[in-house]
């Protein structure tokens, strides 16, 4: 496939790359940009390990081609917090111990971030509904729900990351 120049914003930085537009976004992020926090697990949109934010929506980067992101604003787990300080979601995941192996964690956090962007005060049921398609084999679910609740409250309370 012929290469194209694609411009987008990646973790707050204007970015341009000349690349085959049919390549999978997930692998471009991991391989070309070294953003390996975004994980491969199912490659077919079933698990959410590869979740990133595009234009304020949580999306599955394994199911997208890099050509589709032209002009978009992309945030990956690496871009969620600024430097040293953890984002309230990251902090809540640590404090609630909402992870075990941690492989699903970046996708969980990014999906939760997308959820909170669209619904800053989700109920427990809304969190469950919003997270339903993100898989965790280690069974950290119950704590992930608590962490998202806690983070939502902190973000709503105006405390910034």
């Amino acid at each position: 496939m012929k290469e194209e120049s694609i411009q987008f914003t990646l973790n707050g930085k204007k970015t341009e790359i000349t690349i085959d537009p049919t390549l999978t976004l997930l692998w471009v992020l991991r391989d070309q940009f070294g953003l390996t926090g975004t994980k491969y697990s199912c490659g077919s949109g079933y698990c959410g390990a590869c979740t990133i934010i595009i234009n304020n929506e949580a999306v599955r980067s394994c199911a997208m081609k890099v050509g589709e992101i032209s002009g978009s604003e992309i945030i990956t787990i690496e871009g969620l917090s600024n430097k040293e300080k953890l984002h309230p979601l990251q902090k809540a995941f640590v404090e609630k111990d909402a992870l075990q192996c941690g492989f699903c964690t970046p996708g969980m956090i990014m999906n939760a971030y997308g959820l909170l962007l669209n619904n800053p005060e989700p109920t427990r049921e809304e969190i469950i509904e919003g997270m339903e398609d993100n898989l965790c084999r280690c069974g950290a679910h119950i704590r992930i729900i608590e962490a998202i609740q806690a983070a939502g409250q902190e973000m709503k309370g105006g405390k910034k990351s």
Binding site: G34, C138, I142
Partner: protein, 717 residues
């Protein structure tokens, strides 16, 4: 709750690959190295740790203490979410009397760590930490001797606090572990091994600590194998047969080879396409035309149970007491049941991955491996190499559950990298992960049991087919009992594909069958199922665990089916006594099960990190809902039909009970037991019993899918 804030990194890419084992001592020369014998080697060799390779006295456990007081703790164990990266430092810090923050773990690196067979069987705490603690105690004693020589006072007059040894009567006279050994390397053993601390002397052990790797992981900075990259590295996609029973007959990869940047390598049945971009390698793989020998084994996920019952097998008596005929004679009622359990996949969210890099005749392989030393062995055997020329490193693992004990991806990466003469990453797709997994075996359990008029179990004849013996023996006090294990006949594999250890191997199937049957007996006896268990148990530990369970659950006795949807199961696994009670709602129209709340109770001896143990119990309850309710591998012959999460249903957020409470009995004065596996064994039985209690339908087959539950509801008298 305290947080263990400082990150402890794993040895991964930052280590120089070129270090040779013999250079290792020199490399560490800046600090102090103390080798520890761990006592009687014959005793050591009796332990499972030493099963495959002899433990060297010098290497079976060791620590390194830097000049700045940093304690490097080296272990062949790996971190896959089960928490040793947090709990091992607690123990070593206590034995050495150093600050927890000063302990750094170096894990799963065959060059830097003492030999260890692998991370499985919930053995890290109950077995390995025993050696590590002994090593810590010996190190402390050696350092005290050194301090006594330097400060010119007897050892008895010295005290240790946070890695600083001082004279008790004159605390200003002191020397730190690091200072003490500055500029020299000391190799000294204690002739008489000092004792490890007991529970009254612990400071960190017993504290509830959060995962010490949490910060790294929430930032997406924890390195898993697939996150590594070497200059010139390519991704390899391996051509897979349609079935485990098919052989490659002919192959045409001429089209694939035309793609720019594609390289094809072949070594007998192994054929791989390489490209620096995984997408391109995948694209090329799809263009290969291959012909395979047919697989005409006539068995699938429906007919498997019949097939197993008729398969060639060996029978093994696990236990026998009393006389089954006597048991029959005194039984008021005899119940015979047959339980079925399908194949279950491990499905770690991180699929098997490996990166191999040859440098001359030496190879380094990074792999998602539960047994880095096992993979080192496998590679050395495959290439007929010296062990020292093979280095295996397990970075963080994205889950294992017993599924990463064998490492075909590591061998493949090494073979392909050798052929291609460049670093090669083999990262299984989810389809490959399902195909290459060795499943928890499908199994049948037959139980014949009888109860007396008084509700005592008088007869128990338990026979498991191909589940494995773990957890098959009855935990109840039955005068006439027999436990039989039916297993594969040597040389005649029964399953159409590989099977193997899955979190608490054998025990999930066996406990499902036993605990279902016990509930059936309780119903026949007209006794509340919790009371029935207590009446039939002599095991004091189990009684205490069940009493704590019922209390935490706030359980009121009622004969089942009570309509409340409450069920329990209990058993032992990895040295731990465990029970789970769960409440569910069953939708009688759809057969859907909704867990409401769960309680887990366990006696696990000394609990090193209560937080970590609670997490493992929650993990078991949540993961266990999957094998109990939905997970089932579909197949036809050696063709694994299940290929992704759309057809293989893992537990979801909506399934999780609103609360999962864990009670850990206070047994800090006892030896530590397993924590990673035990609670999961109860989930099949607890859910089967809860479903029965909710709607009166007994389901004899796992997974207890809505269809099977509906069928059971319809089949009720």
């Amino acid at each position: 709750m305290k947080r263990n804030s400082k990150k402890r990194g794993l040895a991964t890419t930052k280590d120089k690959f070129e270090i040779k084992r013999r250079d290792f001592l020199t490399l560490l020369g800046g600090g102090v190295m103390v080798y520890f014998g761990t006592g009687n080697s014959s005793e050591l060799l009796a332990m499972p740790l030493a099963q495959r390779r002899e433990l060297s006295k010098d290497y079976n456990a060791f620590l390194r203490i830097d000049e700045d007081g940093t304690v490097h703790c080296h272990t062949g164990k790996i971190e896959m979410g089960q928490g040793p990266i947090t709990s091992l430092p607690q123990q070593i810090a206590d034995e050495l009397d150093v600050d927890l923050e000063s302990v750094k773990m170096v894990m799963g690196d065959t060059m830097l760590c003492p030999y260890d067979a692998g991370t499985w069987g919930s053995l890290t705490t109950r077995e390995f930490s025993h050696y590590m603690r002994a090593a810590g105690a010996e190190a402390r004693a050696v350092l005290l001797q050194l301090a006594s020589e330097q400060l010119e006072v007897p050892v008895e007059d010295l005290g240790v606090n946070k890695g600083v040894i001082s004279i008790k009567a004159n605390p200003k006279k002191k020397v730190s572990y690091g200072e003490l050994t500055k500029g020299q390397r000391i190799e000294r053993f204690m002739d008489e091994k000092p004792p490890v601390k007991d529970h009254t002397q612990f400071h960190y052990v017993g504290q509830a600590l959060l995962h010490s790797d949490g910060v790294l992981k929430v930032r997406g900075k924890a390195e898993f194998t697939g996150d590594l990259k070497l200059p010139g590295m390519v991704y390899a996609k391996v051509l897979r047969p349609p079935s485990h029973l098919s052989k490659l007959l002919s192959v045409d990869y001429s089209e694939a080879e035309k793609l720019e940047g594609i390289e094809v390598v072949r070594d007998e049945q192994l054929l791989a396409v390489l490209h620096e971009l995984p997408d391109k390698a995948e694209e090329a793989l799809a263009m290969i035309k291959a012909e395979y020998s047919p697989d005409d084994l006539d068995v699938d996920h429906h007919s498997i149970f019949e097939y197993l019952l008729n398969a060639p097998s060996d029978s093994q008596e696990v236990r026998s007491s009393g006389n089954l005929e006597d048991g029959k004679a005194i039984s008021e009622e005899i119940i015979e049941s047959e339980f079925h359990d399908g194949y279950v996949a491990h499905s770690p969210i991180e699929a098997h991955t490996a990166l191999a890099n040859w440098e001359g005749a030496k190879v380094t392989v990074w792999a998602s491996a539960q047994s880095p030393f096992g993979l080192q062995d496998e590679i050395a055997r495959t290439f007929e190499m010296e062990l020292d020329d093979v280095r295996v490193i397990s970075p963080f693992l994205g889950g294992g559950f017993g599924g990463k004990i064998y490492h075909p991806q590591g061998i493949e990466a090494a073979r392909i990298a050798k052929l291609a003469q460049k670093p090669v990453m083999v990262a299984y797709t989810r389809e490959e992960e399902f195909f290459m997994d060795y499943f928890r075996p499908a199994a049948v359990v037959k139980i014949k049991s009888g109860i007396t008029k008084e509700g005592k179990i008088a007869l128990w004849d338990f026979k498991q087919y191909f589940a494995g013996n773990r957890g098959s023996d009855t935990i109840y006090d039955v005068p006439n009992a027999k436990t039989t294990g039916i297993r594969e006949k040597r040389g005649t594999p029964v399953h159409p594909f590989p099977t193997g250890a899955w979190r608490a191997p054998g025990n999930n199937t066996n406990t499902f069958a036993r605990e279902s049957q016990v509930d059936i007996l309780a119903e026949k006896a007209g006794i509340d199922p919790v009371q029935f268990r207590l009446d039939n148990l002599a095991d004091k530990k189990m009684i205490a665990v069940i009493e704590a369970l019922a209390e935490k659950f706030d359980y009121t006795p009622k004969v089942g089916p009570s309509g409340r949807g409450i069920g329990m199961a209990c058993g032992t696994d990895a040295g731990t006594w465990v029970a789970v009670m769960i409440e569910v709602k069953v939708d009688a129209k759809t057969g859907n099960v909704q867990p409401i709340r769960a309680v887990c109770s366990q006696d696990m001896g000394l609990c090193v990190n209560p937080q970590g143990s609670i997490l493992q119990a929650e993990s078991c309850v949540t993961m266990g809902m999957g094998y109990a309710l939905s997970e089932d591998v579909e197949f036809k012959g050696g063709d694994v039909i299940t290929s992704n999460f759309d057809s293989y249903q893992l537990p979801l957020f909506s399934w999780v009970p609103q609360t999962i409470d864990t009670v850990i009995l206070d047994r800090q004065d006892q030896a530590p037991q397993g924590g990673g596996e035990p609670a999961i064994i109860c989930m099949g039985g607890a859910l089967a019993n809860a479903i029965f209690d909710a709607c009166g339908a007994r389901v004899y087959q796992m997974p207890m899918t809505p269809e099977r539950i509906l069928e059971a509801i319809k089949g009720q008298p």
